[in-house]
């Protein structure tokens, strides 16, 4: 198991490096020149060259890439000052350190992701399991029907509807905004409750359906029947035998969902006018801001890889066949 984690970690770093390289060269190869954009209309060749030098664009490509990647590990010095590790460079557009920009935005994204995940896991899996346990009853039908309707909604539809009801027409709540948890826990909770709940609602519906079908599939397994044939009660069999197996597909999807949300929930952020990682990624791409784009890409990729490893560890915890092979 330790070997496995080590191997995966080494693999993850190699992958990160490759993603960095791919992003870098794609961006450079793209037919746009940030320097001439920054220089504006009446740009003298001298001024253009100055900008290039200031941004480090005059160096050979390989050198630029190497400076960027090594900066992540060792830190880097810019004319504007020192950028300590992990240094993702300085934004062309704003001139801010990319890492600190990301760190400014990240708590919001983390709140959305973690808050959403807690809600949709608890409610979704709970509802799905109850529906499976009471299969064919009214409870099941309501749960299945509701989740069917809700999962066909989209955030950009449900979000404005909820905002209209709770904020614009009644004034019961304020516009969603992010207040750091450390400064004002209540404000943090209230400010983020609408986006988190809307996001969670749609995911809850999906997780309910998934948990239900996965559970029903497990209940039909031979070993579950064996447990029943041993005289174990229905509830015991449900919670001990069927539940474990039903987790595997859920963990798979959860890994994908959470890692993509940590890389930025663009639609949610846009819908509620929040400034998270997703917005940053859009800004970077629109402004042709190479360091920012690369920073956000690598940051997102890091989470995808990290959560991939965590998912595999969870599989091993659930299933001894994986653990002991």
């Amino acid at each position: 198991m330790v070997q496995f984690i080590l191997r995966r970690t080494v693999g993850a770093f190699v992958t990160l490096f490759l993603i960095g390289a791919a992003t870098f060269f794609l961006f450079v190869a793209a037919p746009s020149d940030y320097a001439s954009l920054a220089c504006g209309k009446d740009c003298s060749p001298q001024r253009l060259a100055d900008i290039r030098e200031a941004l480090g664009l005059d160096l050979p490509l390989a050198q630029q890439f190497w400076d960027f990647m090594s900066g992540i590990v060792t830190g880097r010095d810019f004319p504007a000052g020192h950028c300590s590790a992990p240094c993702l460079g300085v934004s062309f557009y704003s001139g801010d350190m990319v890492w600190s920009t990301i760190m400014d935005r990240f708590p919001l994204t983390l709140t959305l992701t973690a808050g959403g995940a807690v809600v949709f896991l608890l409610v979704g899996i709970g509802a799905g399991m109850i529906a499976a346990y009471r299969r064919g009853t009214l409870v099941d039908k309501v749960a299945t029907g509701a989740s069917m309707v809700l999962s066909s909604f989209q955030i950009y539809f449900l979000g404005p509807v909820v905002l209209t009801i709770l904020v614009y027409s009644t004034g019961w709540m304020e516009d969603p905004k992010y207040v750091p948890l450390t400064r004002d826990p209540v404000g943090w909770f209230v400010g983020m409750s609408i986006p988190v709940c809307v996001l969670a609602t749609i995911f809850t519906a999906q997780y309910t359906r998934m948990a239900r079908s996965s559970m029903i599939e497990q209940l039909a397994e031979d070993h579950v029947r064996t447990a029943r044939a041993k005289g174990m009660s229905r509830r015991y069999v449900f919670l001990r035998y069927a539940w474990r197996g039903s987790l595997i597909p859920i963990v798979t999807i959860l890994g994908i969902d959470v890692s993509s949300m940590l890389g930025g929930a663009v639609v949610t952020e846009l819908t509620f006018s929040l400034q998270g990682i997703g917005r940053l990624a859009v800004d970077g791409a629109v402004n042709k801001d190479l360091p920012l784009t690369m920073g956000v890409m690598l940051f997102g990729a890091f989470f995808i890889l990290l959560i991939n490893i965590l998912t595999d560890i969870t599989y091993a915890w659930i299933d001894p066949r994986i653990r002991l092979s």
């Binding site: 070993h223 029947r225 029943r228 005289g231 229905r234």
Partner: protein, 353 residues
């Protein structure tokens, strides 16, 4: 003696009598295409210490019958009529709680594929100890020790260590041994074995069959042994019930059914089965056609569309009238007793070599 019921349905006088007694069992599944009667009017008895072999091809209803005995069918799609009486207790109407008390305790089951029938998530020891704790109230430690003892009994080397293993760390034969240990841990009165050796290799199958027989002698367990393999049934069973399309078509002791079979379907099975001592000059004689769909079973005798001896029965009785299976040694066929005897002696037996 197992299947012999005296006229009037009273249990055989020897021994404690029909420990398990099934009367006119009907199992209907509702499917998308309509109701399917998987078992239709089945009656049989099993005595303590005896083995009843139920033989039939896929779709004959042999496995369904035994899941219903333990109430393991899906109540959402299944309707059950008739009586299942275990040691005086009616099971069809029993509550889930009452059934739980019986399962794994007085009635245990072994399934076909020991890899899928054991949970991959728990150790072998824990899976064996679990029903023991539940049914005897033993402590965790005592139940574990019992599990190790049972594993030793069924021939797992180093049982104390191997109890901590997971099923995937066992070989196929060892898994089935563990399954048997699990089934016998509470010393059940009745063991239902559903094709327990079908997934195993022949040398391992021989070990497992002998093990079951030896354990039965030690524990005095009654066994219902379900299989499609006549050779296995000949080896294991005291009594045989042959099933076809949801109905029992013939029953009697092993010798009666295999050496002097009276039903055309049983003849067909014997004719189509190659044996190690069969005459190679005689080709196999398969039963023509295929088993019927239970959605639209044939009228009258369900075997009539495939039966070669239909025209020996006067009129169209085979098509219109369903032949009854009398209690005791009998076969559900409209042929006369003498006809059956002569057909077997003159036309079937010589072919079998």
């Amino acid at each position: 003696m197992t299947t012999v019921t005296k006229a009037g349905g009273a249990p055989a006088p020897t021994g404690p009598g029909g420990f398990l007694s099934v009367r006119d069992l009907q199992v209907t599944f509702s499917t998308e295409d309509g109701p399917v009667r998987a078992v239709d009017g089945l009656s049989f008895d099993v005595d303590r210490g005896r083995t009843l072999g139920i033989v039939g091809e896929s779709g004959s209803g042999k496995s369904v019958t035994n899941l219903t005995v333990l109430g393991l069918h899906d109540p959402l799609f299944t309707t059950i009529d008739g009586e299942i009486v275990l040691d005086g207790k009616e099971l069809v109407t029993a509550t889930e709680k009452e059934l739980e008390q019986l399962r794994g305790n007085r009635v245990a089951m072994i399934f076909q594929d020991p890899l899928t029938a054991l949970s991959p998530f728990y150790t072998i020891g824990r899976q064996i100890a679990e029903p023991y704790m539940k049914h005897t109230g033993a402590s965790k430690k005592a139940a574990w020790e019992r599990a190790v003892e049972m594993l030793g009994k069924v021939g797992i080397p180093n049982p104390a260590e191997r109890a901590r293993d997971y099923p995937h760390q066992f070989s196929g034969g060892m898994r089935q041994r563990a399954m048997i240990a699990m089934a016998l841990v509470c010393d059940p009165d009745l063991l239902i074995a559903d094709e327990p050796t079908t997934a195993l290799d022949v040398t391992v199958q021989a070990q497992i069959l002998d093990l079951l027989k030896d354990l039965q002698r030690e524990f005095g367990t009654a066994i219902v042994f379900i299989t499609h393999d006549l050779g296995v049934i000949a080896d294991m069973a005291d009594d045989i019930m042959v099933m076809y399309a949801g109905r029992a078509v013939e029953r009697g002791t092993v010798d009666e059914v295999l050496r002097a079979p009276r039903h055309p379907y049983t003849w067909g099975l014997l004719n189509s089965m190659p044996r190690l001592d069969s005459d190679l000059a005689t080709p196999l004689e398969p039963i023509p056609g295929t088993p019927p769909s239970l959605l639209t079973p044939p009228s009258g005798c369900r075997f009539h569309p495939r039966c070669a001896f239909r025209d020996r029965v006067g009129g169209d009785r085979c098509v219109t009238e369903s032949p009854a299976l009398a209690p005791g040694r009998s076969s559900a066929c409209h042929l006369g007793a003498e006809q059956k005897r002569t057909i077997f002696a003159e036309e079937i037996r010589p072919r079998l070599g």
